[in-house]
């Protein structure tokens, strides 16, 4: 891949990326969340069609212009996504040949389908009948079905996006060994992973991607590929003067304490998403929660916020010295909690409604009497926040959907500030917004703690966590695996803390 550049609205997701993968090797891509690894692979596999990016894909000496996924699959390039794409109520065989049906289009040849399916299952070493339903086998076996499905498409370049993220250790090991076996048979693999021990185990070459750029490529046997070395490549960036200084904030007594908080997955009810987490927050403090995607941070926050996520959450939540049991979100708001979601379009704002309506949504009682909304008062409140937070818009009657990301975030913050909370949980408060708007959001956080509120900031961006937090918790796989004071924390120490706690 040469000089690949891919733009998303407002973001340069890939910036002049070059990647060389040698035939018959396993090539690992590593990098922080949002570095651009998955985007790059989506370009390669034709999910982002030719024309939506610039640069060339050269495969076996030939420039390829993939318009859709089937074009790349015809060349033998198959991607397996992190989220498995299998239909639970279909059999293994049906799934394997979905979109690639055997026989004629008006009459599927089921005998061939299942015979071939069984053959591929044998190759990947899965001892299941191809007539078993997907929902009846575990995640590890489903991952193998995905690989068998890729083989059925005659894959010669296999791309795996975090293939082991939902597998346990023995399944992961088996999968990696399978990849090594394929390699010896001449297959080429690209693997994206956060698990550096696995990367050093299977990869011949390792490419580090950071901020949409390829930083370096290391070769096994030539370069040092120890975990520490890779981590340095992944985070190596300076914390510039991007964070406003906070002054005159007195950190008071503990106002929120969580003890042994455990949450189960809402569908897979035996899976612990949050595992006996204990933490505390002081008045006027900014507490950062760092971790990789899927570490359970959002799930922790949402389950604390009136059980809005998960199943069978238990543990104790102590607010201002008193243990409380929150029944629902409304109860949480009444107890002075606010949860500012990471997904402002999906979970936070009503895009088709104006700023005014969004601002008061969580505290409509504040602008109404006996169930009747005082629209003049509502207007005044919304306009007040617009001025305070310097939201750029044509007026508070403008629809939120037409605002930029940074301004949407401000509306979302205004909505929760209007509920007058004591503790704000900000989940990825600066995701997808530009640097200038980030600075303004940081200023708002500083003003919040200066006025005696506490902020829990969940962020995947290490510089942000380091720059803004008084204290940092590190989460991984549902557990708190580290706690740092601001002065003791560094990108390397946090990254090492995450990566070393993985898979043990």
């Amino acid at each position: 891949m040469r000089n690949i550049t891919k733009l998303f609205p407002g973001v340069r997701a890939l910036d002049d990326v070059n990647l060389q993968v040698k035939k018959g090797t396993i090539h690992a891509l590593v990098g922080e969340n949002g570095a651009g690894k998955s985007t790059l692979m989506n370009v390669l596999s034709g999910i982002y069609p030719f024309g939506s990016y610039t640069g060339d894909i050269v495969y076996e000496g030939e420039v390829c212009k993939f318009a859709k996924i089937t074009d790349s699959e015809a060349k033998g390039i198959v991607i397996i996504h992190q989220e498995l794409a299998l239909v639970p109520y279909m059999t293994i065989g049906e799934n394997m040949f979905l979109g690639n049906e055997q026989g004629k289009s008006f009459s599927i040849d089921w005998d061939t389908t299942y015979a071939k399916a069984d053959q591929y299952l044998k190759v990947v070493g899965l001892a299941e009948s191809s007539r078993t339903l997907i929902k009846d086998i575990g995640v590890g076996k489903q991952q193998l079905v995905e690989i068998a499905k890729a083989l059925a498409k005659n894959a010669r370049l296999l791309i795996l996006d975090e293939p082991t993220s939902s597998l346990n250790e023995s399944d992961s090991k088996a999968l990696l060994d399978l990849l090594l076996r394929f390699k010896s048979e001449g297959m080429t693999c690209i693997i994206i992973s956060h698990k550096l021990n696995e990367v050093s185990y299977v990869a011949d070459d390792i490419t580090v991607i950071r901020d949409g750029k390829t930083i370096e490529t290391m070769h096994k046997g030539v370069d040092d590929i120890s975990e520490d070395r890779i981590i340095r490549g992944m985070v190596g960036r300076e914390i510039a003067d991007r964070f406003p200084a906070r002054s005159g904030v007195d950190i008071g007594e503990v106002c929120m304490e969580v003890k042994d908080w455990t949450v189960y997955h809402p569908i897979y009810r035996e899976k612990k998403v949050v595992d006996s987490v204990s933490m505390y927050v002081r008045k006027g403090e900014v507490v950062g929660i760092s971790g990789l995607m899927g570490a359970g941070r959002t799930e922790l926050a949402m389950s604390l916020f009136g059980h809005s996520y998960g199943h069978g959450a238990h543990g104790s939540l102590i607010l201002n010295g008193k243990e409380v049991k929150l029944k629902n979100e409304k109860d949480a708001i009444h107890h002075g909690l606010a949860y500012v979601t990471e997904d402002r379009k999906g979970n936070g704002l009503i895009l088709s409604n104006p700023i005014r309506v969004n601002t008061t949504l969580a505290n409509l009682e504040g602008v109404s009497a006996r169930g009747v909304v005082d629209q003049d008062k509502e207007y005044a409140v919304a306009d007040d926040y617009r001025q305070k937070l310097r939201t750029k818009c044509t007026g508070v009657e403008q629809n939120v959907g037409n605002l930029s990301g940074g301004n949407q975030q401000k509306v979302l913050l205004a909505k929760w500030m209007f509920t007058d909370p004591d503790i704000l949980i900000l989940d990825e408060p600066t995701r997808g917004i530009d640097v200038g708007a980030k600075y303004e959001i940081y200023c708002i956080i500083n003003e919040l703690v200066a006025s005696g509120k506490s902020v829990i900031m969940i962020s995947s961006e290490l510089p942000e966590v380091l720059g803004m937090s008084d204290r940092i918790y590190v989460m991984n796989e549902g557990r708190i695996v580290g706690e740092f004071q601001q002065k003791d924390a560094s990108q390397e120490s946090i990254m090492a803390c995450i990566l070393k706690s993985t898979n043990n």
Binding site: A332, Y339, G346, N347, G348, N353, A362, S368, D376, V396
Partner: protein, 389 residues
């Protein structure tokens, strides 16, 4: 005005413009017959149930494009029970209260499954449609039950005398009706300009003066046209009173109350609404329980108008109501739509019906035209949404 402003204005007022065009078209095609006072009166009297059902349906659609298929059957069932009760000698007011209570109970029954058990509304109300159509047949034993209570018919818009008497006794011109029209216009202008002055004084944003004046002129003209037409026939049909009451109450609920706001919020983004501490189940419950109540009211008007109850009444009413909502600008995805918009949609459907009947077009062909209009309205909604994003 710039080009985009004109386009915006057109997009906002498309249905009003189409309504005017359709009116003009039929006036031309029927040689002005559609504009004669009796036809205008019929437009309201015949479509009273559509206005009421469409208002209730709007609340359901607001919650996320969900519809209630059972309303036609509920209209029929409550009507059947009411007719039987009155035939059995029950006081008409008591009978009406019983009918409304039954409607509310049916609504609450369906709303429970939809809101708390999360049965999809489509399925729940499809079941309701079958259940209550069947029950109507059972209670009526397949026969027609006629209604003889003249007061009931007069008050709820049935028969030749269901008009509000004119105390002034104008010859060929109902003075009361004209007065009501003038008062409504005056009230409208007063509130619009008072709000405007208030908002300007407090320094809030206001719409441009030309657009406000333009809109006022259009509305005043429409109201006066209707009242003059009505007064040249027999005056205000009593059914109009009930329709007006429902429209006013629900226009207020949807635009001014917290419950109204919650309806829009749930349809706009249910997850965000839930995370804002709003009980979304209660919102669903309200919408569907209320639909049952309004269906019962439509049932009262229907049996009064027909002076009887039959097991086939209300057939297809749900489709008229749903059609009126979507034509009137309610979004098939929920969260968008207003009571005045729905009224325009209902009037448009009514005008198309009436115009084609006056022209003597075959009933079946009328259905084809209505279906086409409905599809066009929703296609328009979907396409305009796509342009936004």
């Amino acid at each position: 005005m710039t080009k985009t402003k004109v386009l915006n204005w057109l997009q906002k007022n498309t249905m009003v413009l189409i309504l005017v065009l359709v009116f003009v078209f039929f006036a031309w095609q029927t040689g002005g017959k559609i504009l004669n006072p009796q036809n205008i009166t019929n437009l309201i009297a015949q479509n009273a149930y559509v206005f009421i059902l469409a208002t209730g349906m709007l609340l359901c659609i607001l919650t996320g494009g969900n519809i209630d298929l059972s309303v036609g059957s509920v209209v029929c069932f409550t009507g059947a029970v009411g007719a039987l009760l009155m035939a059995g000698g029950m006081n008409m007011w008591l009978a009406v209260v019983v009918m409304l209570a039954i409607g509310l109970a049916i609504g609450a029954f369906q709303a429970y499954w939809i809101a708390y058990v999360r049965v999809p509304p489509f399925i729940t109300t499809l079941a309701g449609m079958l259940i209550f159509r069947g029950l109507s047949n059972v209670v009526l034993d397949g026969r027609t039950q006629s209604i003889s209570d003249q007061t009931f018919k007069d008050i709820f818009g049935g028969g030749a005398t269901c008009y509000i008497p004119d105390p002034f006794g104008g010859e060929g011109l109902n003075v009361l009706c004209l007065l009501v029209g003038i008062v409504v216009c005056a009230l409208y202008l007063f509130t619009v300009f008072r709000n405007r002055i208030n908002r300007t004084r407090k320094g809030y944003e206001v719409a441009s003066l030309t657009s406000v004046v333009l809109r006022s002129v259009v509305i005043v003209a429409a109201v006066m046209f209707f009242t003059v037409s009505l007064s040249r026939y027999k005056g205000i049909p009593t059914a109009l009173l009930w329709v007006a009451l429902v429209i006013c109450v629900y226009a207020y609920i949807t635009s001014k109350t917290t419950m109204g706001r919650h309806l829009y919020a749930v349809g706009g983004n249910e997850k965000a609404t839930k995370l804002s501490g709003i009980d979304t189940k209660k919102v669903y419950f309200f919408a569907y329980a209320n639909m049952g109540f309004l269906a019962a009211l439509a049932g009262v008007l229907t049996i009064a108008r027909m002076a009887s109850a039959q097991p086939t009444y209300g057939d297809g009413y749900e489709m008229d109501a749903i059609g009126a909502c979507f034509i009137g600008g309610a979004s098939a995805y929920g969260g968008v739509g207003t009571v005045p918009g729905v009224i325009i949609g209902a009037v448009l459907m009514g005008v198309i019906n009436l115009g084609m009947s006056v022209m003597g077009i075959d009933q079946n062909f009328q259905k084809v035209v209505k279906g086409g209009v409905l599809l066009a309205a929703v296609v328009f909604d979907v396409l305009s949404k796509r342009n936004d994003s």
